[in-house]
Amino acid sequence: MTPLSIALNLALSFAGLAALCLSMDRHHRAIAGRGQSRTRARGLRLAGWAVIAVSFAAAILTSDWNFGPVQWIGSLTGAALLVVALVSYRPAWIRPAALLALPLALAAVLLA
């Protein structure tokens, strides 16, 4: 339950949830100003769930079955609140922030 393992969960949760958010037409329109193809939406949705699954695996690996689930769910809540705040107040920031979260997650893995 080190700060780095929670940072990893937060970064992955944020990237995954941002992808899920972007896969939804209403939010995609608000963020990008236009609609998207069905294939792209499905791709984003798949990627989002995949990253969230990776986050779960990371939580279990770093904090075992005792704390891992708690940490995973807590990170999802915190990251989701950030996604909602960005979509509502700074929609343009969400894509760069999500793309930035992935290298941050990688850095947390390398530092741990």
Binding site: I6, T77, V84
Partner: protein, 512 residues
Amino acid sequence: MRPGFRQSMAWLHTWAGLVTGWVMFAVFVTGTATYYRADISLWMRPELRAGPSDPIPAAERGIAYLKTHAPKAMAWYVSVPQPDRPVIGVYWMDSLEAPLGQALLDRETGTPTRARDTQGGDFFYRFHYELQMMPTLGRWIVGGAAMILLVALISGIVTHRRIFADFFTFRRDKSAQRGWLDAHNVTGVLALPFHLMITYTGIVTLGLMYMPWGVTAAYKGDDLRFFVESAQSTTWRPAAGRPAEALPLAPLLARAQGEVSEPLEMVIVNNPRDAGATVVAVFEEPHGLAHQHPQIAFDAVSGAVVERVGTMKPAAHVFTSFMGLHEAQFASPVLRALFFLCGLMGAATIATGLVLWSVARMPKAGEAPRFGLRLVRGLNIGTILGLPIGMAAFFLANRLLPVDLAHRATWEGGVFFGAWALAALVPLARPHRRAWVEMGLSAGLLFGAVPIVGALTTDRGFDFLAFDAAMLGLGLVLALGARAVSLYEGRRAAARAARPAGGLAPKGLVKA
């Protein structure tokens, strides 16, 4: 025609949420503050310095104090200093009925501490589950409200048709009612696992008080044996009735510490000075979800180990894990911050739900609000802003009341309730929206004043940076909220002026 299932659930959600909302808002806010109970206590006793200390000599000092000050007690308890609680706490039980006697001792000298008399973070902790009332009554009220809140949570999930479709949706540019509903949904849904967990485990923590019949039936009145068998306490040995000299404490504690890797937390002496006396060494909970303290009991006269408490059966393990999850004492600083955030989101879910109730029943232009609406509005502002005002006043009182004032801790509590009552009554005499702006601004200013007053009245300088930052952050959020209401009110007034015919339907009347 009978209403459909979802409508029934919507009705249930509305009313279950409304009747418990005010109490549960206060429970959520004080409970969330309790995640930082130790930090609040440290701030409120600025005379103490945090830091490590040697537990066994501290325990001896505590027992020495009790020998002279509570020689006739039937049990002594000494909590040894922790890094975040740098005092020796001594407690004694004169009889099963009387409240525990207590004193806080300096960890170095073993004499009563010179730190100011305050309940510290324990004030919010006790409020969280007893509302600072008579304990039994307070626990029943909190427990009853929590059970109804659980009903409101479940019926809310059923009512909310678009959990996934609206997962990220917060429309603040639409109608007022739409915005409040979205805020209610977002804070409710995003932290839903927390809300369900915290409400359920909270009820379970005091569950034996609400439903004691299982234990009564199984143990036939010998309830103490239940606590022994569920690994919560050691067996109570009755007094022998003749005095005997106890062995020195330190070697016993050292032997106990040799068996357990966790640090010593508390020493209990049952029937002190009696031939049947026991010494119980209680250790901190091992790292894990479960809230469970290893304990070793010695015969105080012979020094033989009487009992070891540590391994739990599955049911006890589940119960202590629920308590552990609720209290989150296992959480590292970042995870604790996430628990804190979730607690705030719980409070926000309740607050937005309460406001939504009144916004959805806003009177049409020209109509006077009815009594029910006026009552709910008054209670809303009195709770949602009154409680934070009380809390900020409580912190300020800790610094501003004279240090040697008699019954100082009681006075601090009095300031908390006095400020809260004042903040709840003043809005009744003010126009409703103006009252939100004024009270929000007052709350923001009071929280902003806490670090300034704190720094001016102590010599601790920047020792409480995190606490001060939290106070400033809370003050800023409250002040920004007041500003947002004020701007919204300004736009409404401008719109009204532009269309004086009064035909402007309030934007809040869109169907939810």
